[in-house]
Symmetry: C2
Subunit: 358 residues, 2 copies
């Protein structure tokens, strides 16, 4: 079985490849373009990922599934990069996935419907001896959280946010790289599908039955803590998100983090306003968010926010620098956009904490 | 199909019937003893529920399953009152459940493993044309919460608690009865298995995939709101419970309640200390709990705690009265033990709010 970074993926995104319509595909292209052979989409076929998304370089979009599989050194897996309309597997998809399995390719999927549970595809995979990886499928026998995450040796950091989709995973990946550069054994722990695609392990906590979210978080910390100095847990949702706040609180209580890093997209004023829904929940100030997270954690296990990660992708550089300075001034904490300006200010804060904790 | 209150249940509790070991069975006996024909348990057979539990009156415990089915006017359904060790259906259980289905009896179950999904029992039930009710099975196609619960006409009240198992369901049932007595159309909305057994509908929100807890709560409020003046939603868990806090926050944000009632067992100092686990999370004062809940709700939709329900079952009457007075003094809110002293103080508070809201 290939390691995650050895795989060569054909991404299935037929009919939906675009900046707003193929979130999973786009995340994969953003985070591991070097593993991607091609994108299959009959609508944008002939263009490149860069043409369609504005990033992704020369990754080609192909309109012929079999040709896509054969590109370059040939794909080793098909990665499902979009959700089918209505949740059921369309007949065409079934045909493509059968072709892939028949050729011995793995299927990687983040769909809520598990491909391995499909009678036809599941038994074909077994007959071929190839793996179907449903990254949203929770492990069996998750525990109810009971505080064991508080007892691990490494310094555990959870990213929390003002909203979904503000950069909680990216912050941890950037931090991981920066801490490793500085000689620490820093481990990224994935709690969502893209992170699991990147690392090859993790639990999609939002797909876990509600009673076991904190238990899943606890188990992830225990696993991530082995041979690590710092455990960087990918946060999910937001405590002020009407739909997903429960997942966020389960992660906060289940991971028993030593510290939090607060993530925010600097231009965002309302929950969810990145997808154009009606404004409902206004995002409070960063200082208030710090207080909301610290208060929510305190009854179970006190923790503190030690830094701010701003996502400034949609701002000019001067505006981004000003926003970062303002965030630091407003909260009294180190702040950065870790993609744009590097993760050093946060890495230094973490190193200080790790030293102080010893 | 019989209405829930028309059913006559044989409760399966073999080998585990007791005050601490058969939580589901005991809840059913406490809440609808009039619907229970007998308890099946070969260990305590020959005694009565009262003998074994200290409540439940003359409900007999039988050691012969078939005899239990035939008692009185005969059972109309088997209710599974314990969880099997290890989560799998034991072979003996399978035999008993087949007997029941063959005689045309329904099976009601709150297990995490769904009886209707068992190939043998599921197809037998279909062949017999009888229903298997898995009350923990969430409905398909739950939405992500989007605030629609805030727009219903009735006054929506959610019970919240210091911990699990402090009386959040009981409080709402007592309140429902009291409000109905006072002429209001008050509807109880069940979010856990016992409540669903009682009412015959609801969603066990702790069994829902984490992303959809708030959506399930929203859907329950919309359903409960039809032709009602007051909707009384059964709360779950606690915002300070390390394992279940996510479910609690999902309910709080998903139901968009107009008011909260805070429930607490007066003698309990630590989360979970009713089942003898090690003290970990200390329960803060009632005034602090009021603040914790109001703060957690505020960013999504502000609400307020309007009353306190104390569970004083393990206290002398003078001590219980003193605890209720103290709770009222500490919070400035009406307080009662609704089982022991009636729900009137809370019903009056609700009536004032309902009138004020119009």
């Amino acid at each position: 079985m290939l390691a995650p970074h050895q795989h060569r993926f054909l991404i299935l995104a037929d009919g939906q490849f675009g900046p707003l319509t193929s979130k999973t595909a786009n995340s994969c292209i953003r985070y591991f373009p070097e593993r991607i052979v091609a994108v299959f989409d009959r609508v944008t076929a002939g263009r490149t990922a860069q043409d369609v998304l504005g990033f992704g370089g020369t990754i080609p979009v192909v309109g012929d599934f079999a040709r896509g599989l054969a590109l370059g050194r040939g794909a080793s897996a098909v990665l499902i990069g979009i959700a089918p309309m209505g949740g059921q597997l369309p007949a065409e998809w079934r045909g493509w996935l059968k072709t892939a399995l028949e050729r011995g390719l793995e299927i990687w999927s983040g769909l809520h419907t598990f491909i391995a549970d499909d009678p036809e595809l599941g038994s074909l995979a077994r007959a071929q001896g190839v793996r179907i990886l449903d990254v949203r499928k929770p492990p069996p026998d998750l525990p109810i959280a009971d505080g064991r995450a508080a007892e691990v040796d490494p310094y555990v950091i959870l990213t929390v946010g003002s909203d979904c989709n503000v950069g909680k995973m990216t912050a941890q990946l950037q931090l991981r790289d920066e801490l490793v550069r500085r000689g620490l054994r820093a481990r990224f722990v994935a709690t969502g599908q893209t992170g699991i695609f990147i690392e090859g392990w993790g639990i999609a906590v939002d797909a876990v039955v509600a009673d076991f979210v904190a238990g899943a978080a606890e188990q992830l910390v225990l696993q991530g803590a082995v041979d690590a100095d710092v455990v960087l847990v990918e946060g999910q949702g937001s405590l002020i998100h009407p739909g997903y706040s429960g997942v966020t609180l389960g992660l906060l209580h289940g991971t028993c983090p030593d510290a939090l890093i607060l993530c925010h997209q600097a231009t965002r004023d309302y929950i969810g306003d990145y997808h154009g829904c009606e404004p409902w929940v206004r995002i409070p100030s960063l200082a208030e968010l710090v207080e909301i997270y610290e208060r929510a954690a305190a009854p179970v296990r006190p923790t503190k926010v030690i830094g701010i990660c701003l996502n400034t992708f949609d701002m000019s550089e001067p505006a981004a620098r000003a926003a970062v300075s303002q965030a630091a001034a407003d909260t009294g904490l180190p702040a950065t956009d870790p993609v744009r300006f590097g993760a050093s200010p946060l890495a230094e804060a973490i190193l200080r904490e790790v030293v102080a904790a010893r």
